[in-house]
Symmetry: C2
Subunit: 120 residues, 2 copies
């Protein structure tokens, strides 16, 4: 056994910078492979391969149009990432600064309580 859980999920798909770029372009609307090749300055096989990965995690969809294949964004697939990272929002968001301060105070209070609770 070796190298477990490289599970082709959205997190992995998005870990590659060029794939993020592809998604960013597709956010602007459908594109053919050639269009992506030109806009991103990548080779055609490169783009096709990245699109394959994105398709496997359902982050993009395809539509046939003559000899072209038009790819479109399917942002739903990114929601799990959003949901996960949003759980950390409070650690940096100013909106929660006050709340954090209060929590810290409570923690300190709790510590003091523990240190003194068994004293005469």
């Amino acid at each position: 056994m070796a190298r477990a859980a490289t599970t082709a999920d959205a997190f992995n798909a998005v870990a590659e910078p060029q794939r993020r770029q592809i998604l960013d372009v597709l956010a602007g609307g459908e594109r053919s492979v050639t269009a992506l090749v030109e806009e991103l300055g990548l080779t055609q096989p490169q783009v096709s391969k990245h699109l394959r990965v994105l398709r496997d995690v359902d982050a993009v969809g395809v539509r046939e149009d003559g000899r072209h294949r038009l790819y479109r964004l399917n942002a739903e697939a990114l929601k799990p990432i959003h949901d996960w990272v949003r759980g950390y929002e409070r650690f940096w968001s100013e909106r929660f600064d006050r709340l954090d301060a209060v929590i810290e105070d409570l923690k300190r209070q709790e510590h003091r309580d523990k240190r003194t609770e068994n004293r005469p």
Copy 2:
């Protein structure tokens, strides 16, 4: 040349499920390596290695405490991920449905303008 840009950035660090688990635990407060080993059911070298990766991208910090090493979350490092994925929020959030419709209308309008702007 081969395999470019697997750049040890936050996106990559977080692409590994077990590393996300570690961060999730650390979100609850400082932990020693052993504590993480027990809470997650991983081997000690596994945990140490994952922590190394997380430390390299500055997603966690360490503090020495006797022969223990206490790791803590540094959520700031996850902000780039949040910022990036937040750009896609509008694709699934109902709150933006109306706005999307308006934008689409504007795009169509623009297309019409372009198609006719050089006509007599």
